[in-house]
């Protein structure tokens, strides 16, 4: 697991979520870019699942609790697809805002995962 890459992931997802949310507030209708943002977020999470399985095997386990980390990761994985499906009933601004809020939540969760893996205050 690479610290700066995971932080970059959190920042990229936060920027995507922020941009999609602003688009929703600006009454932009549902479009391919919004779906792409959600799909990209999901891809980064799937990559993270692979890295999270491989890294401890390579001897680079988390400094924090592995169980807590996985609870976050599995929860985060559910959000982009669920938000996208839920958004589809509303092709207007509210659907876009649903995706934006979902991605912002994922960004916060990735940040927390980074803390669990790398930063222990206790």
């Amino acid at each position: 697991m690479i610290s700066w890459l995971m932080l970059t992931q959190a920042i990229v997802v936060a920027v995507l979520g922020g941009a999609v949310s602003i688009a929703g507030l600006a009454r932009v209708r549902m479009n391919d870019l919004v779906l792409a943002a959600s799909a990209l977020t999901l891809v980064t999470l799937v990559v993270q699942v692979v890295a999270s399985i491989v890294a401890p095997l390579a001897g680079a386990g988390p400094t924090g609790d592995l169980l807590e980390y996985w609870v976050y990761l599995v929860s985060a994985l559910l959000i982009p697809p669920a938000a996208t499906v839920w958004a589809f009933a509303d092709k207007g601004r509210w659907g876009v805002l649903v995706v934006g809020v979902g991605l912002l939540a994922v960004a916060v969760m990735v940040y927390r995962m980074h803390q669990i893996w790398f930063v222990q205050v206790a």
Binding site: D65, V71, S75, W86, D90, W94, V98, V101
Partner: protein, 134 residues
């Protein structure tokens, strides 16, 4: 006629509720699996909060007058919960050495747990009124 409660702004509201339900459930499952004896009060509270958020999310998204009552009841419970636990976590911090969703008025969750029930109750009232006048 589409159900007004889960249309428009309601879709975002229910999405935020679902995220909070996932967050609360995740935290609770982890706390119970890891070491329940460490802080039974805070951990039980987390479990109760998780159940309430899950039920509130389902009730908001479902149709029918029965679900409306369930939604009002669970959301009102959240409001009471976040206020009572918020005050107690300030006056009796020893009970809340381990965080719950409602500790410090939900500060760990950007105070969303404190704001959400107010918005939720407002939204139910608004959509129910529309249903009456429509």
């Amino acid at each position: 006629m589409p159900t007004p409660r889960r249309s428009g702004f309601g879709r975002v509201l229910i999405a935020v509720y679902a995220v909070l339900a996932i967050a609360a459930t995740g935290r609770s499952v982890y706390q119970i699996l890891s070491d329940f004896q460490e802080a039974p009060v805070a951990y039980s509270l987390s479990a109760v909060a998780a159940v309430v958020y899950v039920v509130a999310t389902i009730a908001l998204a479902a149709r029918g007058a029965g679900w409306t009552r369930v939604a009002v009841a669970t959301i009102a419970f959240e409001l009471v919960g976040v206020v009572v636990v918020g005050v107690l976590s300030l006056t009796h911090p020893e009970l809340f050495a381990h965080a719950s969703v409602w500790s410090w008025f939900g500060a760990g969750y950007l105070f969303i747990p404190a704001v959400l029930p107010i918005v939720g109750l407002w939204w139910i009232r608004r959509t129910e009124r529309q249903a009456v006048t429509a």
